[in-house]
């Protein structure tokens, strides 16, 4: 993941740096002299925005210090400034790079806003432009991932049984993920029970049973077509009676636009009152990641996210998009077909991988 984005970002940043460096310097000595007081400065800045590119004056503080004329000229040559029009043009490369990486348009807009804040109409030292862009990008991305993580192992100490509900659109990989989580819990010496509350999709119950027998974990099931909330309820009762640590509930995949299925999901939540509601999403989803996770979050208020099929995805844009919309932590990434292919989501690692 992120391999592709890393390269693209690098290219985009260097091209932006070049563009900024190429902004011509126009000598307008008169302006500099007028701009000695802050009030007048503001007015001039407004006029200046109309022009395409120009050198800007020194920061306010320094103006107050009333620097010598030659001093100002020197700073002028070394610093530059970007106005709105320029910004649109230079951001374009970065925008395309992010788009190619599956980052949702909304997230790109946020990155743009943040970057604009530090770049537009500010004096910038020519040599530092690269660092400034990188810093801003890193801050934005850190900001996106800045949510309290969820530690399932720790939570099992406070609540028994810990009930976890897995929801998501069709084919996102809920059942396989549950098997992986069960395996992960087993390795941490925690017992669990699997609940086949997907009573709609053909073969879903058998699929979960197959995992159960491979893992040697009990599966609670009813027939196809029965009420998923009832199955989940039974499973929770079973776990309580047998002092099992964690209840893992598999639900049917549903499109967030299907009102009835969303109501069904809400009913499961009402009946079972899960401690954690986890959205299982694909890393390869594009712009729809935003709508999907948002609608699920609106319906049942998610507690965390698991991103599947990360081994397929070289881009990683979906993780940015989903974090941005739901402001919920990404708990795990699943990275392959085997039971062991699940790992904690590590934001430090990802930022490092991005090379910024």
């Amino acid at each position: 993941m992120f391999k592709f984005l890393k390269e693209k970002l690098k290219n985009a940043i260097s091209s932006i740096t070049k563009k900024v460096e190429n902004i011509p310097i126009e000598e307008k000595v008169q302006e500099v002299i007028i701009e000695k007081t802050p009030e007048k400065k503001e007015k001039v800045v407004k006029e200046k925005q109309k022009k395409k590119a120009e050198v800007k004056e020194i920061p306010e503080k320094e103006i107050k210090e009333k620097k010598g004329f030659f001093e100002k000229i020197r700073e002028k040559v070394q610093t530059t400034s970007i106005n709105e029009n320029d910004f649109e043009e230079i951001f374009y490369d970065l925008e395309v790079a992010l788009l190619e990486n599956n980052t949702a348009v909304e997230v790109i807009e946020k990155i743009k806003r943040d970057l604009k804040e530090v770049l537009v109409d500010k004096p910038i030292e020519r040599k530092k432009i690269k660092t400034i862009i990188q810093d801003s990008l890193r801050n934005t991305i850190e900001d996106l991932f800045k949510v309290q993580g969820v530690d399932i192992i720790k939570l099992t100490k406070t609540k028994k049984p810990l009930t976890i509900l897995f929801v998501g659109v069709n084919g996102s990989g809920k059942t396989s993920t549950i098997a992986k989580v069960a395996n992960f819990l087993k390795k941490n010496n925690l017992t669990s029970v699997l609940i086949a509350a997907d009573t709609f999709r053909a073969g879903s119950i058998q699929q979960l049973e197959e995992w159960g027998s491979r893992l040697n974990i009990k599966v609670i099931k009813h027939d196809y077509g029965s009420d998923p909330a009832a199955v989940a309820f039974d499973g929770k009762k079973y776990a309580e009676a047998h002092k099992i640590d964690v209840v893992l509930i598999d639900t049917a995949g549903r499109q967030h636009s299907n009102v009835n299925l969303i109501e069904e999901m809400k009913k499961i939540v009402r009946v079972v009152k899960p401690d954690l509601k986890i959205f299982v999403g694909e890393s390869i989803v594009g712009n729809d990641a935003i709508t999907q996770s948002e609608e699920f979050d609106n319906a049942i208020e998610l507690d965390g996210i698991i991103l599947t099929k990360s081994d397929i995805d070289e881009k990683g844009g979906a993780s940015l998009s989903i974090s941005y919309v739901t402001k919920k932590p990404i708990i795990f990434l699943t990275t392959g077909q085997e039971l062991k292919d699940i790992e904690y989501f590590d934001k430090e690692k990802i930022i490092k991988n991005l090379g910024i």
Binding site: A202, Q207, V285
Partner: protein, 453 residues
């Protein structure tokens, strides 16, 4: 629907064009920007988008509109043509040959909906008179054979699976003698990702052994920019001849799936639009772009009507309607046919001129209308034959009974009755030859605010 949000922003831009004084570079750039934004938001490959808008701009600036066409109209036409070209021009059906069996293989990523698509196509082809069978070669995912078995039973076709065998080639050989009994054999394979060399090797050898007549790539509507690479690798492993886009009933726009078309050179054959076996549609780029630009798609509407209602029945009904004597049985038939065609909002998309209106109707209203239709069906089901044939005999006692029987309430039964009487009146008026301007106006006045569509 594919690129649905493209639709509303495009319509707005097209309106802007209609209002513009003249077509200049600025206007074209503005239009192109709008198209770019919409397409990128719909996950279409960045490079593809830029090519498309580049073509539009070049043509719009170079080509002279033919006589009698204004430059503005011509610009709209260019957009239409380029979008159609973008989506693969003419409809290309799968031609089922006499060869027995005609082998259709399904490949794709995990969870893209291969098995579900098989059950849909099984139903689609059985309905058209072919003898269809399915073969399960997904040996990796737990319970994959069970899923295919259950779905095959649902659509009533035989299914060849071996739950214990882990080698797909052996499974294929095991049943080899059986296949020639079928017109079409639908072959399910394991989900695989392009980056796993082992799985790619497997699909290559399956391809070599089976030599499918059609090799369909099943791809999710919500896939993002990863689509291109996946499609390309699978194409290299065995030429893809067609594409099925699934899960278009969600909010995803299917733009990523379009990248798969350009990567493989294959065309979209079908689109999956729901969870049930009948939720599949043939894909026709021209009709689709028309719908996109709010021009409707009559061809598909006719196709759907044909599927839902027989020719004789339709003629019979229209005769009855014109005579003004139609009863609840006819109404019920009509409603059945409607529900076979799909949801109200899906049908409305297909009618020229209505697509634009649909945007103005709140979504809830269509849903309310739809649930009302469902209730009416229950009400009609709770009536006796006599009541169905002669709705006039419904008195308050009967209404009470019907309401109880159908789980509705009396006012809902009365509403249905009222609607029936209104439509009957309308039919009579139309039959009375008052189809001239004045008569129509009178008619409209009379029903203003009463007819609830």
């Amino acid at each position: 629907m594919v690129l649905e949000n493209l639709s509303s922003s495009l319509k707005d831009t097209l309106k802007k064009i209609a209002r513009a004084m003249f077509v200049d570079e600025k206007l074209i750039d503005e239009l192109n920007k709008e198209i770019q934004r919409a397409l990128l938001k719909a996950d279409v490959n960045v490079q593809l988008v830029f090519n498309l808008t580049k073509n539009i701009k070049e043509r719009a600036l170079k080509e002279k509109p033919p006589a009698g066409t204004t430059q503005r109209e011509y610009l709209v036409r260019i957009v239409y043509e380029e979008l159609v070209k973008f989506l693969g021009e003419d409809k290309e059906e799968i031609k089922i040959t006499k060869k027995k069996p005609f082998k259709i293989m399904f490949v794709g990523l995990y969870g893209s909906g291969k098995t579900t698509s098989i059950s849909k196509l099984a139903k689609y082809y059985s309905k058209r008179g072919y003898k269809v069978g399915s073969l399960g070669l997904d040996v990796h995912r737990p319970a994959a054979p069970d899923q295919l078995e259950q779905l095959s039973t649902q659509v009533k076709i035989p299914c060849f699976i071996d739950k214990k065998e882990k080698n797909p080639e052996k499974i294929y050989k095991k049943f080899e003698k059986e296949y020639s009994k079928f017109d079409i054999l639908l072959i399910d394979t394991a989900g695989r990702d392009a980056l796993s060399s082992e799985l790619i090797k497997e699909i290559k050898s399956i391809n070599k052994l089976i030599k499918p007549d059609e090799n369909l790539l099943v791809i999710n509507a919500d896939i993002g920019q990863a689509a291109e690479k996946q499609a390309k690798t699978l194409h290299d492993a065995g030429a893809i001849t067609g594409i099925i886009i699934t899960k278009l009933d969600g909010t995803a726009k299917g733009g990523g799936a379009l990248s798969a078309c350009s990567a493989t050179g294959a065309k979209i054959k079908f689109i999956g639009i729901g969870e049930k076996p009948e939720d599949i549609e043939e894909f026709n780029p021209k009709g689709f772009v028309s719908r996109l630009l709010g021009m409707g798609d009559l061809e598909l509407l006719l196709e759907k009507t044909k599927d839902a209602i027989s020719q004789e029945k339709a003629e019979d009904l229209s005769k009855k309607l014109m005579k003004g004597d139609f009863n609840f049985i006819d109404l019920y038939d009509q409603m059945e046919a409607m529900s076979k065609m799909g949801s109200l909002s899906k049908i409305m998309d297909l009618i020229p001129g209505i697509g634009g209106i649909k945007d103005k109707i709140p979504k809830d209203m269509l849903q309310v209308q739809e649930s009302k239709l469902k209730k009416w069906k229950y009400i009609l089901q709770s009536m006796t034959k006599k009541e169905l044939e002669d709705p006039e005999i419904l008195d308050s006692n009967r209404i009470k009974r019907i309401a109880k029987g159908s789980g509705t309430n009396e006012s809902e039964v009365r509403e249905l009755l009222k609607q029936y009487k209104q439509s009957k009146k309308m039919m009579k008026l139309m039959k009375g030859g008052s189809t001239d301007q004045k008569g129509m106006e009178k008619l409209m006045k009379k029903f203003k605010g009463k007819v609830k569509f």
